[in-house]
């Protein structure tokens, strides 16, 4: 890629050879304006390809759910074909973590997979993008599930859907009945309780099994895929189209027209917000992701990434109605954070150890097992940013391990 190069929609604009990686494709046709540092929600500033859209080629990509029906036959595709198509299309986990899907579904002789879990739980409150695609892209998702199941060699598929989405459960069940060869796929309603969409929590609720601390689901023979990822797999394998667009929930009190939008990856958050009617006067925080684990962004030119399921814009009231004068008061040891911790940790102990720079004590209370769901900060009556301290502690531990560059 160089400046002034022409790019077509779907052309690869970035790739690396590393195993745990995925290529990036241009969602639009146009010319490369610049290759420079740009804001990124996680990495801060990172190299980016800036493409000027070609006004002549303004054909917009639209969802391809119409191509899929109950008669989809996955036997036409071999395991290698599926894996290669997924790799070529640059598909990563679209729930939030963004782990390359090819690595997940590829058969691995050391860690054979037996059960495929499809995550139909929204990862956070406020977000509805997975719900919408389950209703609208039902057959595409089922096609993706079948392909992923074949590629990973799983014998059983469980689709976990939260019980506050009866319409999605019903639609999914009906579609499965209509499809052939879906006997090994079941839909399981799970309790609506954040963080149900976390893979460790979902595995526990569906199969009553626990992923070891510090371990990953394949260690117990499980592969977890998001419904949006399944839809992307189906699209990539059948049409060969790369992952360049995704459904994003634009929500929050400070958005004029909240809703679910099908947007190109790389679109600036500011443009998406404008499209959704713009911010209202009361907007106080723009979050890429949901209100619990989302990343507050300072620079609205930050792009939507493959993993951004939502843009949440909160008002000052939404942020602070709970916070008593915004002030942190001493821990009263009420133990609420222990009650809500999905990983059964002791957040107050860890946070205070980090605060006092006692990283060994924090490690002793299993700081590394924290999934940073934010439940402890949410319930803390003393308004202590427990999750923030634990995240800081993890960063300090990581830093202590690496050498200071001379």
């Amino acid at each position: 890629m160089a400046k002034k190069d022409n790019v077509r929609a779907g052309q690869v604009v970035g790739d690396v050879d590393a195993f745990v990686s995925a290529p990036v494709h241009s969602p639009v046709s146009g010319t490369v304006k610049d290759i420079a540092l740009r804001s990124h929600p996680v990495l801060g500033r990172t190299m980016a390809v800036i493409i000027d859209t070609d006004p002549a080629d303004a054909t917009e990509k639209s969802p391809c759910a119409g191509q899929f029906g109950a008669d989809f036959d996955h036997s036409a595709y071999s395991v290698e074909q599926i894996c290669e198509a997924v790799r070529q299309a640059g598909i990563v986990g679209m729930g939030g973590a963004g782990f390359p899907t090819r690595v997940k579904i590829e058969p691995n002789p050391r860690l054979p997979k037996r059960t495929l879990i499809i995550n139909g739980c929204e990862c956070e409150p406020f977000i509805t993008c997975d719900y919408r695609i389950m209703l609208e892209w039902t057959y595409q998702i089922i096609a993706g599930v079948k392909l992923a199941c074949k590629a990973s060699g799983c014998s059983r598929v469980v689709i976990g859907i939260e019980d506050n989405k009866p319409a999605a459960i019903e639609t999914m069940c009906k579609a499965l009945e209509a499809c052939r060869g879906c006997e090994h796929i079941e839909v399981a309603p799970v309790q609506t309780k954040y963080p149900q969409g976390g893979e460790r929590q979902l595995i526990n609720s569906l199969l009553k099994r626990t992923v070891p601390t510090g371990g990953i689901p394949p260690m117990i023979g499980i592969c977890v895929l998001n419904v949006a990822t399944c839809a992307a797999i189906a699209e990539a394998v059948v049409t060969g189209a790369p992952l360049t667009h995704r459904v994003v929930t634009v929500t929050g009190e400070a958005i004029s027209k909240p809703g679910n939008y099908y947007v190109p990856v790389g679109m600036q958050v500011a443009d998406l917000i404008d499209h959704a009617g713009g911010l209202t006067e009361t907007a106080a925080k723009v979050i890429l992701g949901g209100p619990m684990m989302g990343l507050a962004i300072a620079d609205l030119s930050t792009p939507i990434t493959k993993t951004s399921g939502a843009v949440t814009v909160l008002t000052k009231e939404a942020i602070y109605k709970a916070k008593y004068e915004k002030r942190q008061t001493p821990c009263i040891r009420c133990g609420r954070c222990l009650d809500v911790c999905p990983e059964n940790l002791n957040p107050t102990k860890i946070a205070h150890a980090v605060k006092n720079n006692l990283l060994d004590v924090a490690a002793d209370y299993y700081m590394s097992a924290c999934i940073e769901c934010g439940c402890c900060s949410y319930v803390c009556p003393a308004n202590i940013e427990l999750t923030g301290y634990i995240k800081t502690g993890k960063l300090l531990v990581a830093r202590a391990k690496q050498k200071v560059p001379e």
């Binding site: 907007a283 962004i297 939404a318 040891r333």
Partner: protein, 335 residues
């Protein structure tokens, strides 16, 4: 407009409660018992509650002033300490003793440790222990509620004429040596439910306390594990004694409704600062409190054991926390 946006690590929303709202809930829950106290002891209740709360608040303000710390009165914890201390002293306690007790409770019981959250012992119980040690006579002189016409001659105590009366527990202590009269037991139980009985200011009316406790449990302000453990273990111990010798030991339900048992189980042992963090720890703590109360009541020299039981278990809390260290949901790594 963009300059107004803020960034911070998640979560970006939180539950609408605070230390202040929790303490506020406790105060609301203590209101029924306060009403009962005012009905039974009239002006004495007013004076004691007022003096205790006033002194606690003033002491905390003074400590913050001396330590040059930001004012912490708005968390309302001093008010709670004041009310609970007032509830756990005899109605006839002179006002100056209440001042000394309250000041000791807040200054030595809480502020020298670094304020709310850092204290080892429940401040109100520290204050009461200090008063018991210093003014033993005053702390065991029980006034008869003004609404009570002395219909229970058996328990009318000697010494201070008609205005004082032994508490049911003091009477039960004697019963160990003499004999339990079932009629008296029934009368006592009725009396202790509504509070028509001698005792500490706020401890007499079981029904008023239970209404408050129900509010706290429904609002999830207190963790229900501790009261259950305290009452459960106390009941079991009392029931065993009663079964062994019903003539010497009063029935278990009377133990639960009299003395500081209810206020202790629902309002004092559940003080978040001095209770263990984990659920397992809470059960251990509560069971310990209940068993110690019964041990003191039945075997010990004191008729009442709630205060010492809670203080002893407060001291053990760090040990319980260490003992009940949580295991991560995914198991201990590399083990």
């Amino acid at each position: 407009m963009l300059s107004k946006i803020t960034v911070s690590p998640g979560p970006h929303i939180s539950e609408p409660h605070s230390t202040r709202s929790i303490m506020g809930d406790v105060i609301i829950a203590l209101v029924p018992a306060m009403f009962a106290a005012i009905i039974y002891f009239r002006i004495r209740a007013f004076v004691l509650i007022g003096v205790c709360v006033g002194t606690c608040v003033a002491s905390e303000w003074l400590c913050n002033l001396i330590r040059k710390k930001p004012n912490s009165l708005d968390d309302l914890s001093a008010v709670v300490t004041g009310i609970i201390l007032a509830f756990s002293v005899p109605p006839a306690l002179p006002w100056w003793a209440a001042v000394i007790g309250s000041a000791f409770a807040v200054i030595i019981g809480k502020m020298v440790f670094g304020g709310l959250g850092a204290n080892i012992f429940n401040p109100a119980m520290v204050g009461r222990a200090f008063l018991t040690a210093s003014f033993g006579m005053l702390m065991t002189t029980w006034t008869v509620p003004v609404t009570l016409d002395t219909t229970m001659p058996e328990i009318a105590a000697t010494g201070r004429g008609a205005i004082t009366q032994a508490t049911p527990l003091a009477w039960s202590k004697q019963a160990i040596k003499k004999k339990v009269d079932t009629k008296v037991v029934a009368a006592q139980l009725d009396a202790s439910l509504i509070g028509q009985i001698g005792g500490c200011l706020g401890e007499t009316s079981s029904i008023a306390l239970l209404i408050g406790a129900l509010y706290l449990v429904l609002k999830r302000t207190i963790n229900v594990n501790i009261p259950l453990a305290v009452l459960g273990s106390a009941f079991v111990v009392a029931a065993m004694c009663h079964l062994i010798n019903p003539n010497a030991y009063i029935p278990p339900w009377l133990h639960l409704t009299t003395g500081g048992m209810l206020i202790g189980a629902f309002f004092i042992a559940t003080d978040p600062v001095t209770m263990p963090l984990s659920t397992r720890g809470m059960w251990l703590f509560g069971t310990g409190v209940g068993a110690l109360i019964m041990l003191i009541r039945i075997v010990g020299e004191y008729p009442e054991g709630v205060m010492y039981a809670i203080l002893i278990m407060n001291a053990v809390t760090p040990l319980i926390d260490r003992f009940c260290k949580l295991t991560p949901a995914g198991g201990v790594p590399n083990a």
